[in-house]
């Protein structure tokens, strides 16, 4: 059997175990730790699928930043979960139904790794060639890796090329969304002007 596939199955089983354990865990500190383990396992799974950029993001944001945020929240809230009222039959039915629908949906998808899948035939070759939306004169020749400039108009990491160039508008507005989130935070949690002096600025 394919060892990569075996590793994938093993990692996915571990990820499911970590997710279920994080839900069942009563101690919130343990829950946060299990969430971090889950994110780290997902990062390894992405890396195993050669989705390096996604893996990197999952490791830094999922396992790193959000774990730190949750831990900081816990230091203010305490680590005891309030008991009771967390088992709801309608919710279980809803979740199972959604899962069945999603699984039914995946039956229509092309097989994993299928080179003939429409996604690999339709536009992916043009992403890899990185010639979308460019002036014809600047489009690289077939073997332009050693052409003009550092990369001969061909950025080795296609993900970066797609994000920064082909989908430049998307990325700009994503940055703007992050910016507005930070701004809202600053405005909502701004220290009140009428506070006592020792609470104003400690810089």
């Amino acid at each position: 059997m394919d060892p990569v596939l075996l590793l994938d199955v093993l990692l996915l089983i571990l990820a499911v175990i970590a997710a279920v354990a994080a839900m069942l865990q009563r101690d919130l500190l343990g829950s946060v730790m299990l969430m971090g383990i889950y994110s780290m396992l997902m990062a390894v799974i992405w890396a195993n699928l050669f989705a390096m950029d996604v893996s990197f993001t999952e490791a830094s944001v999922g396992a790193g930043a959000s774990t730190v945020l949750l831990l900081m929240a816990l230091t203010r809230l305490g680590t005891k979960e309030r008991r009771g009222g967390d088992h709801s039959l309608p919710a279980l039915v809803l979740v199972v139904l959604t899962g069945v629908v999603l699984l039914y949906g995946t039956s229509e998808l092309p097989r994993f790794g299928d080179a003939q899948a429409p996604a690999h035939l339709h536009i992916a070759p043009r992403y890899l060639a990185q010639d979308i939306g460019k002036v014809a004169a600047t489009v690289p020749a077939q073997n332009a890796l050693h052409g003009e400039g550092d990369f001969g108009h061909h950025v080795p990491n296609t993900v970066t090329a797609v994000l920064a160039s082909y989908r430049g508008y998307d990325t700009m507005f994503e940055t703007a969304v992050i910016f507005s989130a930070g701004m809202c935070l600053l405005l909502l949690l701004r220290p009140s002007q009428r506070r006592s002096p020792e609470e104003t600025d400690d810089a």
């Binding site: 790193g64 730190v68 004169a137 600047t138 160039s165 910016f179 400690d202």
Partner: protein, 149 residues
């Protein structure tokens, strides 16, 4: 609730943690800058680099407390770089227009060397993303840590 919170947010009292953690910070920063500059070649880019740089300052914040970090990285600078990142991104696009191209059409930045202009544009844009992400992540953590202050 607030009592236990405010006490645990003082700087770390363990000398071992402060020393070893302080030694880690430069390496995290260097790795962050590497990911930022190397995003066109290897995995990563502005977003991941921003989170890494923020992680270095979060570690500093946890080790040396709020006032310790404010001494190294003034709060107004963090607030400023949130908007500077977006400005850098959009400004690159406007610069492309000023040079006669379309918005965010990087090859217009240097018509004689479109390939290098493309690389330059991507680098500037990714720097903008990194700046905004790093400062916003740091701000979020600061606000969660310090509540309304």
């Amino acid at each position: 609730m607030h009592d236990s919170g405010s006490r645990s947010h003082e700087m770390s009292e363990s000398v071992v943690l402060r020393t070893i953690g302080g030694m880690l910070i430069p390496y995290i920063l260097i790795f962050g800058f590497y990911v930022q500059m190397h995003g066109e070649i290897g995995p990563g880019g502005g977003f991941q680099a921003g989170v890494l740089v923020a992680a270095a300052f979060i570690l500093h914040l946890l080790l040396f407390g709020r006032s310790g970090t404010d001494r190294w990285l003034p709060r107004w600078l963090v607030d400023l770089s949130m908007s500077l990142g977006v400005l850098l991104y959009a400004g690159t696009g406007v610069a492309c227009m000023a040079m006669g191209g379309h918005f965010l059409d990087y090859s217009a930045l240097d018509p004689t060397h479109p390939a290098e202009a493309e690389a330059l544009g991507m680098t500037l844009v990714e720097a903008g993303v990194g700046l905004t992400v790093a400062s916003v992540v740091l701000t979020i953590v600061r606000k969660v840590q310090g509540g309304t202050r």
